[in-house]
Structure formats: C-alpha cells, structure tokens
Symmetry: D3
Subunit: 150 residues, 6 copies
C-alpha cells in the first residue's frame, strides 16, 4: 500500500525551509500532501489561493507532491486521504516542545497516525513564516527565504 | 498553622494534567485552592462558571480542595487567603522558562510567597489547554484530555 | 571609525534588564542607540513618548547613549545610522531561539550587520516587559523592575 | 527498492523506549537494523553479546527487524547495508540538540543518508540507559524499564 | 505525621545555591535531610567528611535540618527515613530535563515518593559544583559561591 | 585603549565554527587572542602544539589575531593580557545554559570582565569538536569541518 504523508501547516508563507522538508519527505513516503490549514477565525497575511498557486508551480510535474487546503482536524484529514503519517520539520527546541504536544494529541485522536520528524537543514532553520511576514510588511526583500517570486 | 497553596491558572479548560497536579498537591499542602483567573480583557473559550461547576463536581467531598475565581494579582490573592505557597505544574522546558519568570516576580511582589513545582506526570505532559480548545473548535473528541464530560 | 550599535526593542516598558544591557554595551561600543520600534499595527501599553522621556532622563549626560523611535526594518535603520552592530540581551533559552532566528534574518537583509549578545545579569533575567504590563494593569507595584518612577 | 533504516546506539541497555521506536519504525521502513555500537575504548555495563541475545529474543519471528554490532562510522555502516535512513528517537530538548548535531555530521559524511526522528512515547520518555545502569548498580529493580528479564 | 523531605546530591561541594533550596524547603517540610551520595566508584574532589562537617556547622541549631551520607538508591533511602518527598532545585532547562527523568524513575521505584521542585534564586542559579571545582583546582577564590570558609 | 578579547577553549580541534567566531570577533575588537586551555589533567586527542601551528598558519598575516596556550583561570589570564572581554560562540540552547554559568562565574572572579556572545553561523552550528574527534577516531573524513588540512 502506498505510504501517504500529510505535511500540515498554515504556510503563511511557504518557505524554503518547508520546501526542504517536503523534498526530503518524498524520499521517505510515496506521496506527500501539503495541507494548508484554512482557519477562518485567523486572518492570513498571504492569501491562501496565492499560496496554493505558488506551491503548485514550485512542484509542477512532481507527482509525489500534492497541495490541498483544509478546514478540519488534521487527524480526520489523514483518514480522508488514507494517510498514516504526518510529516513535520523541527528547527529548534521551541519547535520540539510544541510538536511533541501536537503529535501526542494527534495520536490520541487517531491511534494509527504516526508523526515523522525531519530536522530542518541548518541553512533554513532560522527562517520562520512570522519573521518573513514582518519583513514583508516593512517592504523588505524576502526573496532569499522563499522558493518562488512574490 | 495550615499550609495553604494556591493553584492559579486560566483553566480554559481544566485538564487531566491540572487534576494530576492538584491531587499530588494535596499530599504536600493542607489545602489547595484552585484559582481561576478571570481576566475581563481576555476572551475565554469555555465559560468560567461552567469550569467552576465541573471542577467542583470533580472534587466533591474532597475538603482539601476549593475552587474560586479571581481578578487581581496572584500575589495579593495569596495574602487574602493566607496562602504562603503557589503550586504550579511543569510540563517541559518552555513551561520552565515562563514559570521561572513569574515565580521571581511573585517573590518580588510578596516575599513570603514560595512557588512550589511538580513535574506533570508523563501521560499528561502533552496536554495543553490551547490544543484542547483547537480540537474542540473543530468538533474533535476531547474527552481523553478532560477529567469530566463536556 | 566609531563603533555604533543599535539596541532595538519595543520597550513597553524599558526595564532594569534593558538598562543593564545598554550600560554594559557602552563598554563595548562607542555609541549605543536605543531604538524603540513604533509599529502602528500593535497597540502599546505604555505610550512611546513617555518611554522616550523616561529613557532620556535615565541616561541624561551620558553622551554614548541616544534614544530614537523608528518604524522600518531594523536592518535598514542600521544603515541610516551607520551602525554595524545590533546589541541584544539574552535572558534564557526561549530568548536564544528567537534571537537566533532574528539575527540570521538581519544578516541576510544586511550582510554587514553583526548581532552582539550579552547575557542579562541574573538579578534582572526574570524581568519581562509583558509580565510588568500585567502587574501594572492590576495596580501592582512595578517599581522594582523599572529604573525610573512611573 | 526496500527502505532500510539503521537504528544506531550503544543500547547499554536496550530499553522499552528503544523498543517503542523500533516497532513504530517498522511501520515506516521495510527493514529496521538495530546497530549496537561496539566502541572498544568505552567500557559497557551490560555485555554486548547479552544485549544482542535479549533483543533477538524480543523480536523473534519479526522479519523486519535485525540486530547487529558494529565498530565503524554509522555513515559507512549505512552504505554497507544499503540503508538510506537512520532512525532516531527524541525524548526531550537535550536529545534534540545532540541529535541535530549528529544528523548534520552524518549528512556531511554521506549525503544520501537521511535521519528520521520519532518522538518517544510519553510513558517511555523519562527512561534513559544511564539511569537504568545506576539503578541496577545499586540492586534496584529495573524490570519496569526493560522489555525483557535481566 | 511529620513531612520529611530528602535533599539528595553529591554536594561536591555544597553551594550557596544548595543552601538556598534547603532553607526554602524548611518552610514547606517539617524536616529536610541533606543526603550526600557516597558513590565509591566516583572520585570526589572535596572529601565527604569535610562536607558533612561544613554543612553541620552551617545549620547548627536548626533542628529541621539533618545531614547524612548514603550509598544506596535514593528511593530506598526515603523508605528508611519515612520520607515521602524528595526536594530538588531547578536552575535552568538542562536541570529540568535531567530532573524530570530522575523523578519519573524514582516514582516508578517507589510510588509513594513525590519530588518537589523549587527554582533556585536567580543570584545563585549560575553556581554549579563542577565549575567551583574547576576554579578551586586553579587556586581561584571560590568563597563567593560557598556558604562557609574552605 | 585597545579593546582586547580572549577567545578561550580547548579547541580539540579548532573548527570552522571557531574560525567563524574569531573572524567576526575582529570586527568588534581590536585584538582577539585565541587561548587554548592546557589542562594537564585532561587528555587531548589532537596535540596542543599541532593545534597552535594550524591556527597560526590559518591566520598568518592577520595581526589582530594571536594564539596562545594557558594553564590558569581564564579570569586571571584576562588580567595578564589587559583583556576586558571574553568572546564566545553560541550554537544552541545547551551551549547557552553552560555559557551563562561560566560567564557569571568569570564576572564574579573579575568584575571588569565582560563576556560577549556571537551566535555561530547556521552552516557551522552543528559542528562540535567532540563529534569531530569521534569521526576522526574511526578514520572518517573530517576535512569539511576544519579550516585546515590534518
């Protein structure tokens, strides 16, 4: 059976660090689904449609990779897509504590769901979506942090 | 003199992890007061009255445990209840850094006030109120994380 | 050429911990510019004009120290003031992870900009502006945490 | 092609925490090789032959799992066994920092080698081989921490 | 029944940070037993008899405090002294991870044993016995770190 | 007066990460003294004389940089060389906790001594001398981690 992993996040925006995890994930799983959480109560900075387009263009022709948006529990989304794995990147110890908590909760909600972690490559580990938004808001050049033009 | 400890928090909601700390606290202190911070500027997800009810039912008949709500400095609340101790749970290093800061400030505001820490039992350490709210918002089953039905 | 360092922050409020870093910074750099970020989208608790006044009075007669407000990227502010250094304090590991991320981003935006860190003196390491605001909001005495009367 | 992962360690002794990672690893990889580092310069507490026996008995009949000993670089061992993955468990932030360093070094030595991390299940996260050795040295009962009798 | 806590450690040497925890512990427990681990396989820098003497002199006349040496599992020592509590100081996140592991193991070995943590006061949090030994070895003045002359 | 900083360490071996800190340090200080601790009680893996040679060749012609060996307290060494600063690199949170402790002790021993920290550049942050020794011991290629041939 195909090994399907979901790579969930808000991706506001999707960064070179996220790209790093997705590409490395395709060497582990048959299929990686980039799932952009569409939480109507949280305002995004970058439009979700734009992000879907940019990610689609980035991975065009790479059949192992799909992009979707979703507005439900990740643990339920996994069932819908027959995904037995969540894929997550770890950049530092702050990420670790947070991801640990989320992974245990997802396991409780769906005991068949395994969260698999890769450590973000050092050159991308300092990139955070929130810092990119802050730089972009002030008109700074964020192209070094993104794998596409914006 | 009775040893009274205050267990302060927003408890939005009160979790099995919180219950773990309260029960273990009653083996150290004569009385543990669960004090739900009622900060009018922050919107709660679970109603404070409902939370008081649930906690009261959970510990019914256990005379060492009381529930109150408060809207003042914890350091002052302690004086009012003749409590010389604050009781806090530590789940991970992120908690540690935050609690360290709060404990020193409380000591500065009230030099007689000692903050006593228990490390949350491993099976509850990944439970956070904010994650529970997120799961509940999406209609997920949070009963595994709460010591009462909701 | 004079070595100019910018000490950026929101300083809401400026604490004894901040003062500690500034004074120690003047032993390393010829000039330290305290730069209060004036982000119009984030509401402050203490007025920025009041904070400028308080800091100016605190360091009156100390020619190595200047206070400014700014509303742009720190990396660009540094160019404007011919500052080759950012000065930052580290209180704990949570600070470290955040500052690491910001420092790398600033280096990417302005490769001539070096971020220099001092570890906050232990007696000030537990002081955080957000906790001070919380205490002040409830009418608590924050004078122990501030190097000026408020 | 089969996905082969090496789970390297000194396993002095192999714990329930290690067993947790191996079993969960078999749901990701086709084959998991438990590789006991045989560093002649470091004295072991539990004999390596005994540990190989115990692990073999534990996983008897499970064809996805193999135990070996080795005395070379993990990055080279991987080549020998056509393993493209290292499997590692993360228990806490201290583990994270160490594993991050090791993973980058292994990537440098063998760019085809990907380190995949699982977070140790909470009930096993506090178990460390060094603490078990300490307890055993004093005649304490370590059976709760080991998946076999000793 | 009296609440007895054991404060275990190697105390090589006993520092002002340790004194801080002991004194604060006497406000929580009826009796605090400073238990110096006497591990024959680890060489000490400061003689254990000298340390017992120094600690005895430090707390002379304070009947809540006792000093002992021991060479067994802490969990068993607690039974012998009818101690239901272990008292431990936390200085930073590295301490936290280690103490978390030890506390869970002690709980497994003796389910009646509760480990209670105090955060070391900031002015003592940077003092570590190993650094003191290093300074003393080079003839440096360690009097600022010790609550007695040596 | 010239600003002199000491960069102390065991440098067993001196890595690209160390080189990164030294070079960036010369943009802050007039002079950086690389001080190799020569602790006779600890056995080195790489000979101290070889390391002095390698570092000298690396920085030949760069007058801001000097290499020395020493066998005394760093706080006293600083006095001897009229150095008012210690320069240290931070790679991660584990480093932070350790360096915090050392910096406070040095300040206590020599109140004029300021420890200045730079965060190691991401591409070098995973390099640790102890891992390099381990790789070298097994005949692995460590050239990617060292700024000189060995």
């Amino acid at each position: 059976m195909d090994k399907v992993a979901i790579f969930p996040g808000s991706f506001d925006p999707f960064t070179r660090g996220h790209e790093d995890i997705v590409r490395r994930g395709t060497a582990i799983f048959d299929h990686v689904i980039i799932a952009i959480g569409h939480n109507t109560s949280k305002r995004r900075y970058f439009k979700i449609e734009e992000m879907v387009d940019k990610i689609n263009q980035l991975f065009v022709g790479e059949e192992q990779i799909t992009v979707i948006t979703y507005d439900e529990l990740t643990a339920e989304l996994a069932v819908k897509y027959s995904a037995a794995y969540l894929l997550r990147g770890l950049r530092n110890t702050t990420d670790f504590e947070y991801e640990n908590s989320i992974a245990q909760v997802n396991k409780t909600l769906n005991s068949d769901l395994e969260t698999v972690f890769l450590i973000t490559s050092p050159e991308f580990a300092s990139i955070s979506s929130s810092v990119i938004r802050e730089v972009h808001r002030y008109g700074g050049d964020v192209s070094a942090f993104l794998p596409y033009a914006i």
